[in-house]
Every structure is written in C-alpha cells, then in structure tokens.
Amino acid sequence: MIRALRLIAAICVIAAVTTADLAAQETGVITGTVVDQQTRQPISGVEVSIVGTTQSAITNDQGAFLLLRVAPGRRVLRATVLGFAGADIPVTVQAGQTARVDIALRVSALQLDEVVASAVTGRVERKRELGTNTATISSRDLERAPITKMADVLVGRAAGVQLQGVAGSIGTSQRIRIRGANSISLSNEPLIFVDGVMFSNTRGGFAVGGQDYSRLNDINPEDIANMEILKGPAASALYGTAAANGVILITTKRGQAGNTRWHAYTEFGTSEDITDYPLNYLPYMINADTANLFTARGNLNEGSSTSRPFRFCPNYGAGTTPNLANGSCRQDEILTLTPLTAPGLSPFVKGNRTKVGLSVSGGSDVVTYYVSGDIDQEQGVISFNEQDRVNLRTNLGARIRDNLGLNINAAYTRSTLALNGNDNNIFSPLINGLLATPFVPTAEQRAGSPAGSRFGTGYGFFIDDLENYKSDQVVDRFIVGASSNYQPISWLTVNGNVGLDFFSREDGTTIQPGRLPISFSYVNGWRQSQRSNNYIWTTNAAAVGTFRPMEDLGSTTTLGGSFSREQFEMTYCYGVGIVEGTSSCGATSSLFSVDEGYTEVRTIGAYLQQQLNWRERLIVSGSVRGDDNSAFGQEFGFIYYPGVSVSWVASEEPFFPETDILSNLRLRAAYGKSGQRPNVRDAVTLLEPVAVASGNTDLSAVRLRSIGNVDLKPERTTEFEFGFDAGVLSDRVAIEFTRFTKKSVDALVNRPLPASYGLTGDAATTGSIFDNLGSVKNWGMELALNARVLNIPQASANLRLSATTLDNEIIDLGEDIQPIVFNRGNQQHKQGFPTGGFFGRRYEIVNPGQQRVLTPADVIMVDDTSVFLGPQLPTSTQTLSGDITLFRNLVTISGLLERRAGHKQLNYTEFFRCQTGYNNGTQGAARGQCQAVGDPNAPLEEQARFLAARFGATTSTGTLSATQAGYAEDADFIKLRELSLTLGVPQSLSNRFSVLQGASLTLSGRNLKTWTDYTGLDPEINETGGGANFTQGEFNTQPPLRYYTVRFNFTF
C-alpha cells in the first residue's frame, strides 16, 4: 500500500506538469437557453456541462447559459437540474464560431442524471452511476423554508437522516444520525465535507447543565448550493476510516459566466416558547388565617406533622392510607400554578431574529466568483441567550487553461454566543420554574432575601439573578480550500484539493462577586476561560483515466491518495475572588487552576476505483481503499475497505416496454466497508500529571489516566443495500426504494472493567478499556415518493413522501461482557437488544379500575429484573412535504410534516419534579410538587409511576426495589415543522424596474404544532443536546421554539 501511495503521488505530479500544449489551440463558444418542455418557462440553476471535460455553466434566471473557450469538435452537452430529466445534446463546435443550443427539459420527479461530486476523488458522477441511494438537498429546497440555522436543513429532508435532540436554547447542538447507530462507544456522527474540505462538527465549551454547543451551525445555509448525503459504507467506502456513519457533502454556491447577479435578503422574525408546562401543586390546610396563603403555607412545616402533603404523611411509606379530610393528612385546598407561564413570574420573553445578507456572483469565461456576506442575530426566549453570527464567503473559479480549472473557496465565520444555564443546573430558568412553589411572592418577599433564597422559585433564583450565570463562546472560523482539475490528455484527469478548517474558540464564564452567593466561590466571584485552536487539514489527489475499450463499454479508473491531520490545542484557567467588573483569570486571587492540552490525529489513505459502463445503463464499480492512522494500535498497519456497486437502468434496455405507467426503472445494489478509528489515546496507557498535597506544599505527581490497548484497530462497518428507482406516470412520480443492512464488526467497545481492578477512579479515569469486541447491526427500508402533481403554466404542485424503518441490534457485546448501563440506569447496551435501549422493571396497579389515592402497597412489581422497554432510536419515520405554486410563481405555499415513532424518551423532568421540592421558606422541607404528589385525584398511572420510583414495589422474590420505568414514555410524535407562503413580484412590475430581476416576500412558521401522547415537555429534546452518543431524555430541557419569520428577497 505504501508503494501504491508513492506511485499515486508520483503519477499526480507527473500528470500535473506534463503537456501544456492543449491550451494553445483556437476555441469556440456554446450558448443557449434551457426551458421547461411543457410550460416553455425558462429554468434557472441548470448545470450545463461538456461531457468528458471539466467545463460547465449554470443557467441564469432567464435560463441562459454561456460556455466559452470550448475546444472545437463534436461535443455532448449535458443539462441537469433537480425536478427535470437530464438531457445529453450533441453539438459541433467550430473554432471562432458560436454554437447555439436551446434545450427543453422534461419534468421528471426521477433524478437519474443529477450529479454527485466526490470529496475524495474529485470525480463528478451521475446518480445513475451509483449503486446506492444518495440523498440530495438542493438550495431550491431551502429557498422558501423557514431555515433559522444549518441544523434545520437536515430536518425531514432526506430519508434515513435524522436530527435528534433538537432543543430550544439558541446555539445548542443536535445529534445527526444516518441509518441508525453503528458504534457502541465511538461517535455515530457522519463525516462532513464543505467544498471538499473536511469540516469539524466537534462540540465543546463550558458545561451549563446539559446542552452542548453547535459547530454545525457555523455553516451559513444561504451559501449552500446542494448537499449530498452518502448514507453509509456502501456509498462511502472510498472515504475510509471515518466514514462508517455516512458522509455529508456540502457544496457552496459559485458564480456563473455572464452578468453580475446581486442577491439581497433581509429576514426578521420572532420566536416563542409554546410549551404546555405542567402545573406545580401544593396541597395545604387552611388555618385560621385563611385569607393569607403565605400564612397557610406555614402549616407545612416539617415539625408540624399535622399538615403535610398526603404523600408525606407519617407512615405513608409504610402503607397507611392517608386521611385527606382530617388529622395528620388534612388537605383543604390544592394550589396550582406554573411560574413558567404566569404573568410576572415567567422567565420567557418573545425571542427575535434578524438576518440580512448580500451576495454577488458572476464572472467571465476565465474567472467566476461568488461573494457573500450574512449577519444573523438571534435572541432566544431567555433574554440573555443570544447569538450573533457573521458569515463571509468568497468562492472563485478560474479556467486557467482549457484543460485546467481551479476553484478557491474561503469562508469566515464569527459566532458570538451567550448560553444560559439549562437542564441539570440550578441556574436554569426552567428548573427554577418547574420546581417552584405555587405561590406568587410579594414584592417584599422578592426583595427580602438574597439570590439563592428567593421565595417562589425552585432554587431561589429569579430570572434577573440567573442573568449572572451564562457561558460565553466566541468562535472565529476559517474554512479555506483549493481544488483543481486538470486534463492533460483527453483520457486523463487529475483532481486535487487541499484545505484547512480552522477555528479558534474562546469560552469564558465570569461570575461577579456576590451576585449568586451560594458558596465560597460564588460569594467571591470566579472566572474560567479556555482558549483553543482546532485544525483539520485535508489533502486529496486522484488521477482519473477514462477509456473506451469497446464502443459500448466505458471504463473509468481512479487512483488516488489522501492525507488528513486533526489537531486540537487549548489553554485553560480558573480562579476565585475576582475583582468586581473584570472578566479575566488574572483578576482573581485564589484557588487557581491552569491546564494545557494537545491532541493530534493523522490519517493517510490510498485507493483504487474501477468503473465499467455499458451503454450508460449498466454501470459496475469496484474500489478498495487502504488507511493507516496514528490512533491505531502499535501493532497495526494499513486496513482495507472494499466497495462494489451495480446500477442498471433497465428501462433503457430495448426489451423494456415503453409505457407511461412505468416510464423509468433503475435497479441498484451496492456493498461497501468503511471504518472508524479509535479515539486519540485509546491505544496507549497514560499517566496524568496532578498535584498532591504534602504538608503545606504541593508535589508533582501522576495518576493512572487511561488504560491503553496496543492491539486496537478501527471498527469496520459493512453495508449492503439494494433497491430501485422508478419513474411512474411519465416520470411525474418517482419512487425510490432501498433496503439496507449495516453491520459493524470489531466494534470498539469501551469495556467497563470490574472496579475491583483498581483502575476506575474519578471522572477522568474511566476504568474501561477499548477493545475490538462487538458487533452492531442496523437494517431497514427507505421509501421515497416524489410526485409532480401538477405542472401547468399557471400552477405547479409537488408532493414528497418518505418513510423509513430502522431496526438496530447489538449482535455481540463481547464475550463475558455484562450490559453497559447509563442514563441513571435507564438505558443499556445489551446484547440482543438495540443500542442504548431503555430497560427497567415494570410494575402494575392493584385494582386499576378504581380511582383513588394509591399507596405503595397498591403498586406491585411485574418484573424481578430489568426488561427491555423500548429503543432509543425511532423505528419508524415518515415525512410529508409539498409545495404549490400558483399564478406563474407569484404564490407558493410549502410545508413539512414529520412523524417519528417506535421509540422511548425518558421524562426525567417529571421524575425529578415528583422527587424534589420547592423553596418552602425557611422552615419547610422540600417536597415533590408534581400532580402525582399533590393531587389526590391524579390519574392512577401518574400516582403509580411516582410510587414505583419513590417507594419501590415488591418483587416476587420479596425484594423492595424502586423503578423509573414509568418515566420511560412512548415518544411517538407528529410535528408540523414548516409552513410558508411566498409571494413573488409580477413580471410586469419587475419590468418597470430595469435593475430588479426578481423579488419575493416569504412568511413562514417553524415548529407550529406537535401531536403526541408523550406527557413531558417535548418528545424529541435531549438533556445533553447532541453531546451524548445514546443518552436520551429530557431534564428541564428547553423545548423547541416556534418561529415566525418574514423574509424579503431581491435579485438584481
């Protein structure tokens, strides 16, 4: 393999510098327009390329294109665009002449000629050449959608692609899952490339309770031309060690030869919290001072056993039926309130967004350009959760010679985020509201105690206190890349690219003295700061040889190599006792802590791909890639990833009956293998430097940090998929069906060791060892239906439906490995069950038909041990989207619905509300305040799950044991994700303004409606955002916000 790599390098260099004579010959021009065959309307955005060359152009709003400096001779023009069938048009070009070609494209919902550009080989392939189902999201899909951030682009637009853990805090991250989860202990996130440059979607920043920070949203959706999603190893084998979870290829917009085109837009909108928050309950006994609730509250003193909420009556836990009318458990009234929505108490404001941007594109036959700028500002529903983002981009394309093209892309992002405390954090506005007493504090009470002791909130903080706790993150990010394609001789193309994704991140938290005086460090104020630099260098080179050994047989051979380097470096400081008004570790006076970190990973790879093409309708490809990586074990060298695919456009065979009912049919199948490297330090046993106190001094010391495994090799995932693409009713309806099976072998399992080894320390020393042990299987089906329901000059309508199923199972966890338990014991990786499945002991109610106040004795345990309750990943997903365009594009209405089903969500919010209490004043005790605790008429199911979790239930073996199984709820939901109305400007009006080529107004809404039986805050939020691999559950998590947006677009 090493020899092969060297050979490739040599070939590339040789090819790059041989022959320069082709450029010298005289050339011609091709120009023309592209229109809809049926409506005769011009089509913009059509890519018109010259087959066999690297030359291409994009049509403008009038459907016109221009190709300059075309070598004379017989050429084939290929026109492709989403929504229309591709067309190959022969044309003869004469030196010094202009050839005019007008192209009429037939509407087609089936996209066999859409192209996918490989980030590794640089090759552009049509979908008909691929044996896999590759999802495409184009800028057209996004134009009218209420996209507030990059993550929105991935929601519901591609079958098998899911964004999970979408919360409503601004700037937070989500999990991306494509066709399930392959890895038990490593990341399940896909690889992302932006214009061929590997993009870091690593998260990180100071913890604020749960939600993590998003780097995906550094990408400006406005700049996206299209996204291709390779869903698994069958499609991504050539991407090697990192691509087991699929690959997302993002291509940004580029300029077109022709007139300069300006596009300006402005967008503003609001966001709001629309959650139906649960009531907080307080049962109480009215005493003599009945008019004064605050006095009545005094009866709840722990010391007075005469008026406890009934759940806490003496001996209640022992099974005594409480007496609700008299005596020790008397309850006269039940007070309810939710401070999260109560006027005067709610921490929420109406959020707002503004966005403004301008782009200019154009060019000549030699140079094209696309330059854009975008400013995006958003304030969330917590007033100090804010993000400002500036995106700048310059994409330059140059035809240095007829046979040499060069693209340079440079993007800059500056993101400034303030993230409030959330989820599992006493400084979270939600937790303070969800655990608050149902009393409205008086002004005196509000002012009468310090932050941390405020009456009427869960942990004693009002929203103006909480503003003192937030984490600031500033990111400066540059993504620069250059790619070239060089055709030194007619059968050989050399592609290469080099790029860098760099971002510096500055995280800081400053607590000013005395603002939140809960403990020493908060009384005196503290500061922590981390500055880090993140680098990913990407380098690829490939030589592509195209031959035609027989008239009907084409051959394409690709030989190439890759090198990538990921580097992270950081410095950290912490100190207590900060000078008022400052925000620097240098301004602190005690309890100092510093740290410095560095990690680096390098990967080198080489590959060979051979494709055979029989009359453009039977295409067979085979490939092999070899990779070596610095994180592999010491004893490990190159690992190989093969791939093979077959695509057969059967409907183009002579024997295939020509019928409108089944107008097109392609059968496809693919097999491929990709990998995933171990984590940076998993192969090495390491000692961590620490300080150790000895008398009055501190000594340098080490502790065992991690246990390495020198035999580690990458986890490998094999995928086989097959299916068909069919055009029905003259291609007005496209049906894509795919069946896939993925299996990870040598799965890297972070194997927990028995703690008795003495290798399990505190959080930094996990007491586990990575081993290539396991096997995980994902399998399912994807069905996509794309229908052009209507296509007449006055109106058109499209309808898209996708449905996926997913099964996921741990085939093997490793010999003698017991289940790996996490998420407070509620989720497990267990052999024979889905990854991260929910487990628990089920219980049942004795005599469930009789509404009453249950006691612990009324709840009995069904299971003696934990049983499988349900999967973490949805097993069934459907999306329905569509658009209707009326009056020659004057009015467009579009929408997106998504359903997910078959999975579980842990409602830890409610569990905690029932177990924990509110600020009951200086004398009271904390008590649960959910309905199950406070309301004698609470539904039996609510009471039972509280009792089972709090007091436990007795198993058949006589053991009393608690279970949280009742809080692992079905999480099925349907959401109306998007709805928009776009109004265009009539041609007659725009004609009056010679400069204005187009304008539109879009009114849109996002997260408009949820249908679910899930009883928590939201069925898809996650306590850890995108930060955890499998942990799934809400815990005072901010639900998604509803957005209303108004957007103006101008093109001139």
Partner: protein, 470 residues
C-alpha cells in the same frame, strides 16, 4: 514548458514523495501525559509515590464535590444528612440505596476510588521495592503499605461483605478477585499493616516512626473490626496520644479539596439539625445541640441546596485545604478503652476521661483554636464521665465517645455496623430510623451496594451483596 525543466520539476517534487515514510507521517506528539515506563526509574519514584499518596487522599476524603469514602459514610450514618436535591445523596441519607443497575454516583464513586487507591498504593510500593536498593529501609514503602491497608479497611467498613480485590499492574489486568466478607477484608488489611510494621521497624527516621504508628493504628482498627479486642489494644499500645497522621488537602486543585468542607460550602450536606431535634432518625447522636467541643459547628449563610434544609457546617473543616485525621493517638486510646471494656485489661472509663480532660489541647492540635466554637459561641466544657453501670450502657457510652472524638473522619459507619455485628444490637436501634426529614421513612440499609460494573467480574454476582447485613 521546456522538457528539461519539466523533468527537473517532476524529479524535484515526485522523488521526495516516493521516498516519504508513512510511519513518519503518522507520528504525533503527546506532550500532555506521561507513560508508565518513563517513570519506572529511581528518579521517577518521588513522582509515583506522591501520586499514590494523592490517590489515597482523593479516595478517603477528597474529590471536591464528588463524594468519596468519608462523605458517603457520614451520610449513611448519623453524622451528616442531605440538604441536597440529588436523588443519589438523598437515597444514601435515607438508607435506601438504589439498585446497583441504576447506579448511585456517590457510593459507586467511593468504591471505585478506594479500589483505585488500594491498587495504586500497593503497586507503587512494589515499584519502590523493585527499584530502590534497600526498599525495606525506605520509609515510603511502609507508608504506602499502611495506606493500602486503610483502603481495604474502608472497603470493608462501608460496603456489603462481598468485596473482590482484583489485581492489575501498570494498567495491565492480572487476576480477578473473589468476593471477600468483611472479616476476610480485615484479615487481608492486617497483612498489609503487618508488612508495613515490619518495614517501618527497619528504620529510625521520623518518617519511619510516623509510618510505624500509622500502621499500628491501622492494625488496631482492622483487628477491632474483627472483634479481636486484646490484639487490637496490643497493636496500638506503642502509639503516643500526640501522634497524628493527616490526609493532606489543598486548595490547589478542586480534586484536592477537603470534600466535606466543599460539600458543606455548597450546601449539599449538613450536620444533623433542625428546630425539633438534631438526632437524626431517632437514634442519631446530638452532634449539634450537645455543643460538644469535639463537634464544633457554624451556620451557613443560606439554606441547603434543596432550599429547605438548614445548613449547619462542621467546624472541624473550615477551608478547602483542611486536613483530615486518618489515624491518631486518640483513636489508639479509644481502641484500648474498647479492649478494656471487653476484658482485655485496663480502665476503660479512665482512658475516656483522660482524653476528655485534655479535649482542648487535643482538638486544638488537630483543628486549631478558631474552630472550637459551637454556633459562634464557646462550646460546652466536657465533664468527666460516670460509669452508667450496665454493659449495654457502657457500650453505648464508649461508642458515643468514639462518635464525638472521631466525628467526620470516616469511622462512624464502621462503628454502627460493629454495634450490630459485634454487640448484638438491632440495626434499627443504632442507625437513623423512622421519618426521614424530607418525607417518607428511612430504609433499612446498613452498608452500600457494590457498583454494577463489578458484575463484569465473573466471580461476583449481585446476589452476593446484602446491604441489610452488618
């Protein structure tokens, strides 16, 4: 392009590529961490030794806001109670442990850290023995061996009697241990203490003397746990009352913090106290209202973390860097008093009263004068004890004295279990019981379960662990 130029360019660029070595390309730096071989030298021993000392510190009484042995045992016993919202801490306080599969972050961490310290102290002691020319004369060796013994004692006192002691060396897994009963653990600990005693006796430096006395007290504690009173008294006989071995803490990094101070500062734990009584769960001792100078206290400026429980802090630990007494002459005397009460000779009451008479000096030597106040005013004086007259009452009195002298030093849970195991008391007559201060009633646990991860050891199963058995 001229052919010659083109050829030179090809050669210039291609040849280095062809010649490049992929191994070199994949070589990366690791500046952050060290590897074991780099420190297994004579020069590296001070660093390894300090690391092992640090591992014990963290396990016994450190780990910042994360609980370790001293804090969790104080919580399960009557020394401290939860002012927290964490369900795991509340479960420990309520004597109602989570089932292991659900995991209890606090008690699980205590187990993990103790096993870690046991492995670390033993492993580095072995390294010293292997590398140093006269290992047994090096005072570091017996000190580590003694600390290893204390780690085993703590495992025995806190966890259900089915604790395996597996072995690993240098991060490489060796043998899986078989679960040991509490008695077997104490016997095993005694072998470590004996090893330490033998090695410490070979030297005459202050460090050797300190290690010797540390091992003596450790041996006494282990033997006491097995009801070998006379042997225990004999083991500690040579320990002067002035002897103190501290687990050192520092405010240099959060993991080095005195954990009880940190957790009380953060209002998670409070001394047992409320407006009605401060005897936790009926059987608890009045550590606050007695105003005893051995359990000084002061109020936090705010309520507990749960916004409901009054936060009362022990005056023994008033800073992150407050050191913790692991073993001292007071404990040696208390062991002698218990042995005397059990017929090993000596006047048990006189021993106790001698200590009480010197309370000011003894407490000041350990905790400083500024801490000896109770709620901001001077604590009460200690009067001499009178013989209560009955065997049970004498035992109660002795254990009460132990509770006050050894308050918040990781001894109380072991003592409560000994009262059941060795003195025939019922669990509900010594442990907190009845109504729990946040509602509901106390459970019946008398020790902590072993973390679920131990089930990865095929020699161990959950059914071996009984949290109701002392």
């Amino acid at each position: 392009m001229r052919p010659l130029f083109r050829t030179l360019l090809i050669a210039g660029v291609a040849l280095p590529l062809v010649a490049c070595d992929t191994d070199e390309l994949l070589e990366v730096e690791e500046p952050t961490f060290a590897t074991p071989p780099s420190l297994r030298t004579e020069a590296g021993i001070p660093t390894l030794f300090a690391g092992a000392i640090g591992d014990f510190q963290i396990a016994y009484s450190g780990a910042s806001l994360n609980d370790s042995y001293m804090a969790v045992t104080a919580m399960l016993s009557d020394e401290l109670r939860s002012a927290d919202t964490f369900t795991s801490r509340n479960a420990n306080d309520r004597r109602d442990a989570f089932i292991p599969v659900q995991g209890n972050a606090e008690s699980d961490r205590a187990y993990n850290l103790l096993q870690y310290a046991r492995r670390s102290t033993g492993e580095i002691a072995d390294v010293i023995a292997e590398i140093m020319p006269a290992a047994n004369a090096d005072a570091r060796y017996p000190r580590l061996r003694a600390l290893q013994g204390f780690a085993i004692v703590a495992l025995g006192e806190a966890f259900c009697g089915a604790v395996p002691l597996s072995s690993s060396v240098n991060g490489v897994i060796a043998d899986l241990g078989t679960p040991m009963s509490t008695s077997e653990l104490m016997t095993t600990a005694a072998t470590r203490f004996q090893d330490a005693l033998d090695a410490a006796a070979l030297g005459a430096t202050a460090a050797h003397t300190s290690a010797l006395n540390l091992a003596r007290v450790g041996m006494g504690r282990a033997l006491l746990n097995n009801g070998q009173y006379a042997q225990a008294a004999a083991a500690v006989a040579g320990v002067p009352t002035s002897f103190i071995y501290y687990v050192d803490h520092s405010d240099n990094s959060t993991r080095q913090y005195n954990q009880i101070f940190a957790l009380q500062d953060n209002r998670r734990y409070t001394m047992t106290h409320d407006t009605v009584n401060d005897r936790e769960g009926i059987n608890g001792l009045p550590f606050v209202s007695s105003r005893d100078p051995r359990t000084p206290w002061y109020l936090h400026t705010q309520l507990g973390f749960d916004q409901a429980t009054l936060a009362v802090r022990t005056g023994r630990y008033t800073s992150y860097s407050a050191d913790v007494v692991l073993a001292d002459g007071i404990e040696a005397r208390l062991i002698e008093a218990e042995a005397a009460l059990n017929g090993a000779g000596g006047d048990w009451l006189a021993i106790l009263n001698d200590l009480r008479a010197d309370v000011s000096a003894l407490m000041t030597a350990r905790y400083g004068t500024q801490t000896l106040t109770c709620g901001g005013v001077a604590c009460n004086a200690l009067a001499p004890l009178a013989d209560p007259g009955t065997p049970d009452a004498r035992v109660d009195l002795l254990f009460q004295e132990r509770a006050f002298w050894l308050y918040a030093t990781g001894h109380r849970l072991g003592d409560l279990r000994r009262l059941i195991r060795q003195y025939g008391r019922g669990a509900e007559s010594v442990f907190p019981t009845g109504d729990w201060h946040k509602g509901g009633t106390y459970g019946t646990d008398v020790n902590f379960p072993i973390p679920f991860n131990e089930t990865q050891n095929p020699n161990y199963s959950e059914s071996m662990c009984n949290t109701k058995q002392a």
